[in-house]
Symmetry: C2
Subunit: 233 residues, 2 copies
Amino acid sequence: MSTTGRGLHGRVLDTLGPEITAGEYPPGSVLRTDELAQRFDVSRSVMREVVRVLESMHLVRSRRRVGVTVLPAPEWNVYDPQVIRWRLAGVDRPRQLRSLTVLRSAIEPVAAGLAARNATPEQCAELTECALGMVANSSGHRLEEYLFHDVAFHRVILTASGNEMFARLGDVVAEVLSGRTHHEVMFEDPDPAAVTLHVQLAEAVRERDAARAEKLTREITEGALQELDILAP
Amino acid sequence: MSTTGRGLHGRVLDTLGPEITAGEYPPGSVLRTDELAQRFDVSRSVMREVVRVLESMHLVRSRRRVGVTVLPAPEWNVYDPQVIRWRLAGVDRPRQLRSLTVLRSAIEPVAAGLAARNATPEQCAELTECALGMVANSSGHRLEEYLFHDVAFHRVILTASGNEMFARLGDVVAEVLSGRTHHEVMFEDPDPAAVTLHVQLAEAVRERDAARAEKLTREITEGALQELDILAP
DNA sequence: GTGACATATAAGTCTGACTTTTTGTTCCCG
DNA sequence: CGGGAACAAAAAGTCAGACTTATATGTCAC
């Protein structure tokens, strides 16, 4: 499940990264490379590589004579998938989930509008297929199967938008949807209204109706906001 | 101007990173750490740190026995500020600028709506101040001064939204606005209509009129889209 | 042709010595 | 007593070399 897994360097990162993003070291805390190397029982070379990566994520800053200082949260590269995963796995999972859901509510409607303009026939077909899969698994506690098609559906929308920035949010949306199913209250079958909206959205995209696609997506994401008790605008 | 500057490691990164994001090595190309170290005249230790950072950006993947392979563009962490800067400085600057402007058009209206709800009195004041600064420099070829206040304005909106993900896009918006002023056609004074919209937006936020703030921002970003000949939805 | 095995290759790791920058202190002089 | 210059220490930065490990690829027997 963890991505970095590979290599000694990745294992250290998978421990230290979550610790920092969880706020275990208050901003301004100073870590020393040598001490960290000792703690993780790795060589300084490996430790330096880890620090470099953390630095590229703006989680820490390494300065001579002072050490590796932890940066305040507003500095972090919160769009880094690795950072997102770490935070979703840690204590401020709820806050992160809210931020991401608001982000979705901004991005996805526009992406859907663009998808209606740019989607290839293959993508339209895929979309319909996903929507059918959602319908087929919308009752009878087939939550996993439903989730699978739901994730695929939104991924296609984001990709079909033709905007690389939108496309890269596929993983983020997947995390949010998966989080809702697995961690939040979601024992019952999915909301039938939501399922219908997805079917209609696939329709709208197929018919190149950008305005309708955008509106439908707005309804979908507003539903997601309401689930988290975020006031809808 | 370049951020990484510090250290030998940063200088190598500032050369190799742009080369990769410019597409000088087709996806699947293989680089060898030793050769790179020779080419840049640095030790392997330094080179390895560089590779680790590039790997964390998903620009390359390092595998044993094969080398450092360049990944296809869709894999890249396009939200990494470093990557964004590199691409804006390279050959696909136009494409990048379009992607970012579309992203803006999705994010900023929602951010403005949230800002109308959440902005502190200080932020409202700051906003008005920026708008005034824009008005004051909207004629007489005071482009730099205008840009300064424009950037500050949008930064406040994004921050005041209270959403950390939105707030982190401040730098991106700054790059886009700055790029428009410096590289694109922008010899004349800014569009008076745009200036008015900003003044009205500051008003709307101050009066907590979320709907109006969102609508006004949508008009602003649509103007930005039109400048780049992107069809408005 | 298929599978097991051998080999070469390039990244991964460790160690120790040395350099450079920066901070904090000390000490001298105004 | 205060301020500035010289100094010392600390921690990251850099380098070189030896060794380990994974793995792609070629080889050989069956």
